[in-house]
């Protein structure tokens, strides 16, 4: 048996669209517009094993959604090959649909005016499940996702958190082997986010469902995904275990200095140390350990400031990801 759920080889997607040329008249622009081509995804390759939890991240316009749409059969690639559970999405769209589930955070797939139970039943029928099996699966999902308090409510009356739980439940009705989620926690409060992440972990554990997720929320990545693929300008720039992400910027250390009384002056710092934030109570500095080591930095900082407390730590994941995005932007 192939250990991989997803195999992507040299995948590219180009879009072209007409652009207005201000130096020519509107007639020429109307009938003979110039076209601009953009490469949304540029020759990417990766594979995902069964049961893996992948964060596919990148800044806006990086190519995340385009990739996920090609993997699910929504978009046709310009070049390259995709193999999802043995199917080519461009040729076996219908067969593949029986094996995957999808959740697009910004787009609902539920029937707005009918009770949630009707939407779940609708998806069961769409996946050709027998009536008995649909009922059994709905009961399982209601229990798993704690939907019982609003299962009879019309979908348009649900809160965003309830709706997202319902969306994920609907996408799992046919027990898909892979679930693709495009920003599933967008707009959710912290409690709803945690609940959704816990549920996704649960189905990954209990049903060995492969999770392929795009998100701008570091919490999703940190708490949910064991591997992170970073894409920018259509190119994969990092593919590593999520826990190793912070080690990517190991050459940076952060030091918090808590004031003994109040910081009144903020002198120029030695080479290799820069201010991250300045406050009368607390200063945070970033140390480039390629230029100055931590011990030396501390000595020099203590000469400059009177402090009550010191804290030395690595960059948090959000900072690391921001650095990765910024680095890849400047290198392009």
């Amino acid at each position: 048996m192939n250990p991989n759920s997803i195999i992507v080889s040299n995948l590219s997607k180009k879009f072209s669209f007409p652009v207005k040329n201000p130096s020519v008249g509107w007639v020429k622009n109307l009938f003979f517009p110039e076209t601009k081509k953009i490469v949304a995804v540029n020759d990417i390759s990766f594979s995902v094993k069964h049961g893996e939890r992948i964060a596919f991240i990148g800044p806006n316009g990086a190519g995340k959604s385009t990739t996920i749409k090609m993997l699910t059969g929504i978009l046709f690639p310009t070049f390259g090959k995709i193999n999802i559970l043995g199917f080519d999405p461009t040729k076996n769209r219908k067969k593949l649909a029986y094996q995957i589930g999808t959740v697009f955070g910004q787009r609902s797939q539920l029937l707005p005016n009918l009770p949630l139970t009707d939407s779940l039943e609708f998806f069961g029928v769409m996946y050709d499940m027998p009536e008995k099996e649909i009922k059994k699966r709905i009961a399982e999902l209601v229990k798993l996702f704690d939907l019982s308090s609003f299962i009879a409510q019309p979908v348009r009356k649900l809160s965003l958190g309830q709706r997202m739980r319902a969306e994920v439940a609907a996408s799992l009705i046919h027990k898909p082997k892979i679930i693709f989620l495009d920003e599933p926690t967008i707009g959710l409060d912290v409690v709803a986010k945690k609940m959704l992440r816990d549920l996704l972990l649960k189905i990954n554990k209990e049903e060995n469902t492969t999770i392929f997720l795009t998100s701008h929320d570091v919490g999703d990545i940190e708490s949910l995904c064991n591997r992170t693929i970073v894409i920018n300008h259509g190119v994969i720039i990092k593919d590593l275990p999520t826990k190793n992400l912070t080690k990517t910027f190991i050459y940076e250390k952060y030091i918090d200095l808590v004031a003994l009384s109040n910081f009144t002056i903020f002198p120029k710092l030695p080479e290799g140390i820069t201010y991250s934030s300045k406050d009368k109570n607390k200063i945070t500095v970033v140390v480039d350990i390629n230029k100055i080591n931590v011990q030396e930095s501390l000595k020099k900082l203590l000469d400059l400031f009177e402090v009550k407390d010191i804290d030395v730590y690595n960059a948090d994941l959000e900072t690391v990801i921001r650095h990765i995005y910024e680095r890849s932007s400047t290198s392009n």
Partner: protein, 264 residues
């Protein structure tokens, strides 16, 4: 294929239930469309009575024409109103949902929406055809012919809207283009059949199949013309094959988008 049709019927049922949840809007839509159609038929009957017979067409033929037109319109927009929303679906990215479905794309799209007012058209179309059958003292053969021609009208109507709304994949925000093309097809289909002669008749039979909806079926019933029946039937099959092929090619142009939307 049986599973496809079972799901299509189920989706139509759910769409009706979804629309019927908004009860007032549901009833107003049906009643409104019936009043609109009645006003239209009164207008045409007055016109025919003032102008007299044009190329063999009398007032009852107009009722037959509107019967075929309204019934095929009503049936198509009851079972396939989603096709008419293709321009919106494509522009907003809602079409993604159908690409992700394990069902036939065209059937899934067609049955994704239910036009409530189409029920009013069905009722109106049936009433018109019953009046037509009674007034022309139709024989059993003619009644069977009417039944067959209703099926052909529905097929032609369906193929026309599939072809027209497939253009949604070729233009950015194709609402205007598809709306205009639909009017270009629909309006002549409701016009006095006797007005179309010579080049106009050729264009609206072979290039834009508007006359296949009502005018030619009325003439076939009136003249009991097997030649015309064969022609209309052949054109319906031809257009059906062409429209499916256009839709399947057009889908490959789909580029999706990221608008925030609600579902059905």
């Amino acid at each position: 294929m049986i599973k496809e049709f079972y799901f299509a019927l189920y989706a139509i049922k759910k769409n009706i239930q979804n629309s019927a949840e908004l009860r007032v809007s549901f009833l107003i839509n049906i009643i409104g469309m019936s009043i609109n159609n009645t006003a239209f038929i009164i207008l045409w009957i007055f016109f025919v009575k003032s102008v007299g017979v044009i190329n063999g067409w009398v007032a009852m033929d107009i009722i037959g024409l509107l019967g075929f037109g309204a019934l095929s319109y009503g049936i198509v927009f009851s079972i396939g109103a989603g096709i008419r929303k293709l321009a919106d679906y494509v522009a907003t990215g809602i079409f993604d949902r159908f690409m992700l479905s394990p069902k036939n794309l065209l059937i899934r799209t067609a049955t994704s929406f239910f036009s409530v007012s189409a029920l009013g058209d069905i009722v109106f179309g049936v009433v018109c055809l019953v009046i037509y059958i009674i007034s022309i003292h139709a024989t059993i053969y003619q009644i069977l012919l009417i039944g067959l021609l209703v099926i052909i009208s529905v097929i032609v109507f369906l193929t026309a809207i599939i072809t027209i709304y497939s253009m949604s994949f070729f233009f950015v925000d194709a609402n205007l283009v598809t709306g205009s093309l639909f009017e270009l097809f629909l309006t002549p289909s409701l016009f006095h059949g006797g007005a179309f002669q010579g080049v106009m008749r050729f264009i609206f039979t072979f290039i834009i199949p508007s006359l296949l909806i009502g005018a030619l079926p009325v003439e076939i019933v009136r003249d009991v013309s097997l030649e015309k029946l064969l022609l209309v039937g052949s054109l319906a099959i031809f257009w059906f094959i062409i429209s499916i092929s256009i839709f399947n090619r057009a889908v490959k142009k789909y580029e999706s988008s990221n608008f925030i939307t609600f579902g059905n």
